[in-house]
């Protein structure tokens, strides 16, 4: 591999590497706007001009490759700095002073490079700035807004729609100083990845309508996490202010989502914001109103009947302590088995660790009925260099939940109809009516927890226990409602559609008395076996990795940053990707 010297630092790079990437490897940042590692090289912004020894004119770093040994590059010469200042000046003369009202402030390529490579005064004093009248807030599809005055004509957005999304809605119109980007009149941005153009736009020309004026970026805490919208498992950054999530942005993972994520996934945090939270455990006391004995050991008079009205408990659940609530759960699990079946219903939103403990709990409760519910959504395809990842399940971890011990949501052909109490029979059939106790964990299985028909079906169980983060109708109908953390508030792993296990950690604490489900489940299990005491997700992962062949050899602390491919027969359909570590740039990737 050839060696190149950049500012007196020598690095070895693959032949064909451009100077921006080579410099990054050497620890030198060459400023740039139009270059992006996944888009074609156009060499337009001229911000990356550097001095290559032996060549008279400055060369564009993005368009110059290292092919053999001996190339010497300088980014710190006065000539280069003057060129950078010149380019910054040119970009700023027609740029509006919108910083006070522009969402990009704080993460703006012009601000950053003006500060670092520009000058602190303007010489454009007696002329009028070029503007695009009527083009200051043009919706390009539902999620993206264009302010053409701010555009620096880098064409990243155009190249993205052509080369990555493949939909080519954006074009470069007119010529010279009047050049603008836009869609054909009457057309919109119409692809799943539309908001990615906001990420890659270095300035505030393209902004997200959902994030518009929501928060100043310098007040945001940024934590790495995963999207829960579907089984692709895009890596994201949760950007929040004191526990209020304002934005998801994609996080680079060349093995999964590359630099991208879809618009639907970006909006999935809004549920956390908009839906009422369950913040305290609630318990419905077994009261005297129906003449029902308060002693759980005494059989009830209407035992064996299916009259749900007589079994409905009119007393409203009341807030209790966690201890009381868990006591009630343990009591119900121990005492009701004679009255009917016990079923455990998980969702594709469970972390692998939660699912593992949930299955363990089903074991100690002595029931074979433990399954995972997942809904199908529209197909989502995220491009990467290996052909991309496609997902249809609208939850992140059905596979992890199944590997951890929950059965698939619908019975195979061999099962007699009605014999199993799996997700299918519980949610869409009459299975709950045969349940003495139905435990639902992480009731975030999409719209189901808000569907009165489904809630009514699940309520047919004699005792309904719900672990959930939302105060959904299902949680309100429960006899015991246990507030758990959203995925932003806990640690865990998800296994994606390609059987890649990825780890995420909490961004902030859950509100009120909500806790990660792993804690609640391990506390419950402790009542059966002290070895489950005080386990956090890392410890649980290490335990399940020791036990389950699919996870053999893995440990929480040594999980690679881009995830690990699991060794399951189904996974062998997916080739193991081999990619270098990411290059990050200052500008909006």
């Amino acid at each position: 591999m050839p060696k190149v010297t950049i500012d007196d630092r020598t690095v070895e790079v693959e032949a064909g590497t451009n100077l921006i990437d080579a410099a990054f490897k050497a620890g030198v940042h060459i400023p740039h706007y139009c270059y992006h590692p996944r888009l074609s090289v156009v060499g337009q912004c001229r911000m990356c001009l550097v001095k290559v020894a032996g060549m008279g004119k400055l060369q564009a770093g993005c368009a110059t490759q290292v092919m053999k040994d001996g190339m010497v590059v300088h980014t710190d010469l006065p000539e280069v700095k003057e060129a950078q200042q010149g380019m910054m000046e040119f970009l700023l003369i027609n740029h509006p002073l919108d910083c006070p009202i522009c969402d990009q402030a704080g993460e703006c390529g012009l601000q950053d490079y003006a500060f670092k490579h520009g000058v602190a005064f303007s010489r454009f004093q007696f002329e009028d700035k070029r503007t695009y009248p009527g083009r200051e807030r043009i919706p390009l599809g539902g999620n993206v807004l264009l302010n053409m005055n701010r555009c620096i004509q880098c064409t990243r957005c155009i190249r993205f729609t052509e080369e990555i999304a493949g939909t080519a809605e954006l074009g470069f119109f007119h010529r010279g100083a009047r050049t603008e980007i836009g869609t054909f009149p009457g057309k919109q941005l119409d692809n799943q990845l539309a908001t990615c153009v906001v990420d890659i736009c270095p300035v505030g020309a393209l902004t997200s309508t959902r994030f518009r004026f929501a928060e100043r970026v310098f007040y945001l805490d940024k934590r790495p996490s995963l999207c829960t919208g579907c089984e692709v498992g895009c890596n994201i950054t949760i950007e929040h202010r004191r526990g209020a999530i304002k934005r998801y942005k994609p996080r680079f993972n060349p093995d999964v989502n590359d630099y991208w994520m879809c618009d639907y996934g970006r909006a999935t945090f809004e549920r956390y914001r908009d839906l009422p939270r369950l913040t305290a455990p609630r318990l419905r006391q077994e009261g005297a109103a129906l003449g029902v004995a308060t002693d759980p050991m005494r059989p009830r008079p209407d035992l064996g009947g299916t009259d749900t009205t007589r079994r409905r408990r009119p007393e409203a659940p009341t807030p209790v302590s966690w201890r009381e609530a868990l006591d009630a759960v343990a009591r119900y699990l121990r005492s009701r088995s004679a009255e009917g079946a016990i079923a455990f219903l998980g969702s594709g939103f469970l972390t692998t660790e939660e699912a593992y403990l949930f299955a363990q709990l089903a074991d100690v409760a002595g029931t074979p009925h433990r399954s995972v519910a997942v809904e199908l959504g529209p197909e989502r395809h995220i491009p990467n260099l290996q052909g991309g990842v496609t997902g249809r399940e609208a939850a992140p971890n059905r596979r992890g939940a199944e590997l951890a011990g929950l059965a698939s949501g619908s019975a195979g052909d061999g099962e007699a109809a009605g014999a199993s109490l799996d997700a299918e029979s519980l949610l869409r059939g009459d299975g709950a009516a045969r349940c003495a106790v139905l435990v639902v964990c992480d009731s975030d299985f999409g719209a189901a927890a808000y569907d009165p028909v489904i809630v009514e079906r699940l309520r047919r169980a004699r005792v309904l226990i719900v672990f959930g983060w939302a105060d959904s109708p299902l949680a309100q109908a429960a006899d015991v409602a246990l507030p758990v953390a959203t995925h932003a508030e806990k640690d865990g792993t998800f296994v994606n559609v390609e059987w890649r296990v990825q780890r995420f950690e909490r961004a902030f604490s859950p509100p009120g008395q909500a806790r990660p489900a792993v804690e609640a489940l391990s506390e419950l299990l402790t009542r059966y076996d002290a070895r489950w005491a005080n386990l956090g997700a890392p410890a649980v992962f290490d335990r399940l990795a020791a036990e389950l062949p699919a996870f053999a050899g893995l440990s929480w602390h040594h999980l690679p940053a881009t995830g690990a491919a699991l060794d399951v027969p189904a996974a062998r359909a997916f080739p193991e990707p081999h990619l270098q570590a990411p290059e990050d740039t200052a500008v909006g990737i």
Binding site: V41, V42, G43, Q44, C45, R46, M47, L49, G56, K57, L58, A60, A63, E82, A83, G86, M87, E89, F90, L91, I93, N94, R123, F124, F126, E127, D128, R130, I152, Q153, T155, F172, H174, R175, G176, A177, R178, T179
Partner: protein, 434 residues
């Protein structure tokens, strides 16, 4: 070395309408060059053109034979010749003359070039405004096909050659070679990053030669009369052959004049009938809008590539624009700045913003709103545009502006100081517009 009594070469058929037809062209010796070339090895043709010292007549002045030698050898892959008939450089109208008056000369030159580099298709990219020239060329090409000069077997040699006219749609930047290729491919005429160069990756990804009309028109004569003959014309071995000079502006007889390359400007001015209405020479631009302005005291300079470069200007397309002493230089350069701003493709930062800024600055100065800091600012803008842009248009735009500040500083000063243009409004027509 140039003589007034120059035996026309490129313009020998101007004024002979018979030569518009293939038969008429043949009668005056046409297509002998092609016949000769087909009997030679392709590389031998390249060598002959190299030896002649023919330099590109479109503006860059790059040695044509050398350019042809960059094309990879062999016939296994497609290769193209694109003839640059976009002729949009202000002051240039010589290619139009060649196409309208001697279309077969160009066809023959293209065919010889294709044989030399083993290209099988020529696109003549002609600016969209030249509808008349396009019609004449189309007719001549049609005749050429009928006569077997073009088509499956040129002169029954087995060499297949297709030739098509391709009309542009009005953009100066399409005269830049990679801008032209982009436009030919059906896109916006935005120049490409180089390398790769067109000789390796050109039109449709294939090796491509791009040559100006006049350049190619010379080629049949080089083949027929020899490289030595070609070299015997001109100033020295780096500035050889006949040259068309398109002279316009304040001269009595604007037009295209053919002489040996290197005629002194003052002699060319004489050929063109001297100054318009007996005026006094103030300045002249020797080679198109991007050439630095030369002043009257430089009237004796030879109009060849090297002399012009040494004088700080360029021969370019040899579009000579003459200005008398009633001309406001600021106004003239402001008009060129407006041209470059209009024609910038808009891709790259320094050109898109810089040409815009320069037009604004010069217009302010022209209209008496200049500031004392403006000349220095203009030079600084020029410096930031020079050598930083993606293609040569930015440098071209700098040419006249830079020479204005350097050679006419007092005139600029007067505009700023007096807050008005010192030159009275000029009327060319008695009845005027009223």
């Amino acid at each position: 070395m140039a003589s007034r009594a120059f035996e026309p070469v490129l313009t020998r058929n101007v004024g002979n309408p018979a030569a518009l037809t293939l038969d008429g062209y043949r009668k005056s010796g046409g297509y002998e060059g092609l016949a000769k070339a087909l009997a030679m090895e392709p590389d031998a043709v390249i060598d002959e053109v190299k030896r002649s010292g023919l330099r590109g007549r479109g503006g860059a002045g790059f040695a044509a034979g050398v350019k042809w030698s960059f094309i990879p050898k062999g016939r296994d892959k497609p290769k193209y010749l694109v003839c640059n008939a976009d002729e949009s450089e202000p002051g240039t109208f010589k290619d139009r003359l060649l196409m309208e008056k001697d279309p077969h000369q160009l066809i023959e030159g293209c065919a010889i070039c294709c044989w030399a580099v083993q290209a099988s298709t020529t696109y003549i990219y002609i600016r969209g405004e030249y509808t008349h020239a396009n019609a004449i060329m189309e007719q001549a090409i049609k005749e050429a096909y009928q006569a077997g000069v073009l088509g499956d077997s040129v002169f029954n040699s087995g060499f297949k050659l297709d030739m098509y006219m391709h009309q542009g749609a009005g953009a100066y930047i399409c005269g830049e070679e990679t801008g032209m290729i982009e436009s030919l491919e059906g896109k916006r005429g935005q120049p490409r990053v180089k390398p790769p160069f067109p000789a390796i990756v050109g039109a449709f990804g294939a090796p491509t030669v791009i040559n100006n009309v006049e350049t190619l028109a010379n080629v049949p004569h080089i083949l027929v009369r020899g490289a030595d003959w070609f070299k015997s014309i001109g100033t020295d071995e780096r500035n050889t052959g006949p040259k068309l000079y398109a002279i316009s502006g304040h001269v009595e007889r604007p037009g295209t004049y053919e002489t040996a390359i290197g005629i002194p400007f003052s002699e060319l001015l004489d050929l063109a009938g001297g100054m318009y209405r007996g005026g006094k020479l103030k300045a002249y631009i020797p080679g198109g809008a991007s050439a630095a302005i030369l002043t009257a005291d430089q009237a004796g300079l030879a109009l060849d590539f090297d002399t012009m470069t040494k004088a700080g200007s360029m021969l370019g397309s040899a579009a000579v624009m003459v200005m008398d002493d009633a001309t406001c230089m600021v106004r003239s350069v402001a008009r060129l700045a407006k041209f470059f701003n209009h024609e910038s493709c808009g891709q790259c930062t320094p050109c898109r913003e810089g040409t815009n800024w320069m037009e604004l600055l010069l217009t302010r100065i022209e209209h008496g709103e200049g500031r004392p800091s403006d000349p220095q600012l203009l030079q600084s803008v020029c410096k930031n545009m020079n050598g930083t842009a993606l293609c040569a248009l930015a440098e071209a735009a700098v040419g006249p502006v830079d020479s204005l500040i350097k050679r006419f500083p007092e005139e600029v000063e007067r505009h700023i100081r007096d807050r008005a243009c010192p030159f009275p409004q000029r009327r060319y027509f008695e009845n005027g517009a009223s």
